[in-house]
């Protein structure tokens, strides 16, 4: 598989699935070291949900690309991933930036999933509706933290820093809706480009087991 353009529907599925997989991976980095036990549990569950969404989306993409969810998730080269720069950032152990990303990503993702629910492709619309049912709880969790941290200087600074990245999660036509929901002006977005070094390190760790096994190994 190369970064050559796939069908538009598959491109869309891969971008969405890569976002969910990589954010799920980043969220799981808090497992065991979150500020308190409830957050260990919450971030681990959210990570599990996001990776579940990625799996379902990869399965749909696999119908065009061949292979299965695992091969699309783990057998591509780092430069072939489509994920937005926001989800690639390694934010552990910075809780303020983690919550800022959580709030911004979940807000952006809600807008994207709402739009997908109305997609003319019934399969995409169905999967989006199913994803949305779970995402509601991610947003409630984000909302709870936003209430706690909204005036904290470190949080405010983190949102300032990550705002251009948040815009980059969405296609240009959906960005005004995000700006309105977050209550900020649109600025130049950090766009999806070939992933950088921070991602390469994540990729190396994420695919380590897969690469260590012989081709065709069953899990």
């Amino acid at each position: 598989m190369t970064r050559a353009q796939a069908e538009p529907r598959t491109e869309l599925l891969l971008a969405l699935a890569d976002d969910e997989l990589i954010l799920g991976w980043r969220n799981s980095e808090w497992t065991g070291i979150a500020p308190f036990l409830e957050e260990d549990v919450a971030f681990s569950s959210i990570a599990q949900n996001e990776i579940g969404h990625a799996r379902a989306l990869y399965e749909l993409a696999a119908r065009e690309l061949g292979g299965d969810a695992d091969s699309i998730a783990f057998d591509r080269r780092p430069e072939e991933y489509r994920c937005a720069p926001l989800v690639q950032l390694q934010l552990v152990p910075d809780w303020a930036r983690t919550i800022a990303r959580h709030v911004l990503y979940e807000t952006a993702d809600a807008i994207r999933v709402e739009a997908l629910k109305d997609h003319e492709d019934a399969e995409l619309a169905g999967i989006a509706a199913k994803i949305e049912r779970e995402e509601v709880y991610h947003r409630l969790h984000a909302e709870m933290w936003l209430e706690r941290l909204r005036s904290e200087p470190r949080y405010v600074e983190a949102v300032e820093e990550l705002w251009p990245y948040a815009l980059g999660v969405l296609d240009a036509d959906l960005r005004p809706a995000l700006a309105e929901r977050v209550g900020r002006d649109e600025v130049e977005a950090v766009e999806r480009t070939a992933p950088g070094e921070e991602f390469a390190a994540l990729w190396a760790e994420m695919t380590m087991v897969r690469r260590s096994a012989p081709v065709g190994a069953q899990w």
Partner: protein, 161 residues
């Protein structure tokens, strides 16, 4: 010749891998069963998409059909057809008896933090509604953790999805 009824009966014997008090049929994950000669097709609608029990459920259904002497075909539906409203009344009662508060019915709009924080959720142990939300997330993605102020018992509350 295998009948649809026999397949449903066999599936009703399979416990949920994570909460074995409830069967896959009570959980509502079997959307349809159709029999064509010796081939049995099951439409399986997953619960939470990242649930690790899904693979186990699928294998168990295949084994149950094979045990009836038929060839199984389990199709996983990625659509929006499962919700917690599909858990049967029997299933809800079994959950309650095992200490899991069953999910409140779905409403038009998504749940809000305010609703979840209100003391209207009933404790599965003592029946009191004097309960508070401790954590939106719990041991698995499908559950939250609440605390009953009346019998002082923490309990798991199924999320409505």
């Amino acid at each position: 010749m295998v009948t649809e009824a026999a397949v449903w009966e066999a599936l009703a014997e399979i416990p949920d891998p994570e909460i074995p008090v409830i069967s896959l049929v009570d959980l509502g994950v079997v959307k349809s069963v159709s029999v064509d000669a010796a081939r049995v097709r099951i439409e399986f609608t997953p619960t939470f998409m990242g649930c690790p029990a899904l693979e186990v459920m699928r294998t168990q259904m295949e084994e149950a059909v094979a045990a009836l002497g038929a060839e199984p075909q389990v199709d996983v539906l990625l659509d929006d057809s499962w919700s917690t409203d599909r858990i049967s009344p029997t299933g809800r009662e079994k959950l309650r008896e095992a200490g899991f508060a069953p999910p409140p019915p779905r409403t038009e709009s998504a749940p809000t933090l305010l609703q979840l924080q209100q003391p209207v959720h009933r404790c599965p142990y003592c029946g009191s509604t004097e309960t508070r939300l401790d954590n939106l997330f719990g041991p698995t993605p499908c559950r939250s953790v609440r605390y009953c102020g009346s019998c002082r018992q923490p309990f798991e509350q199924f999320k409505t999805i």
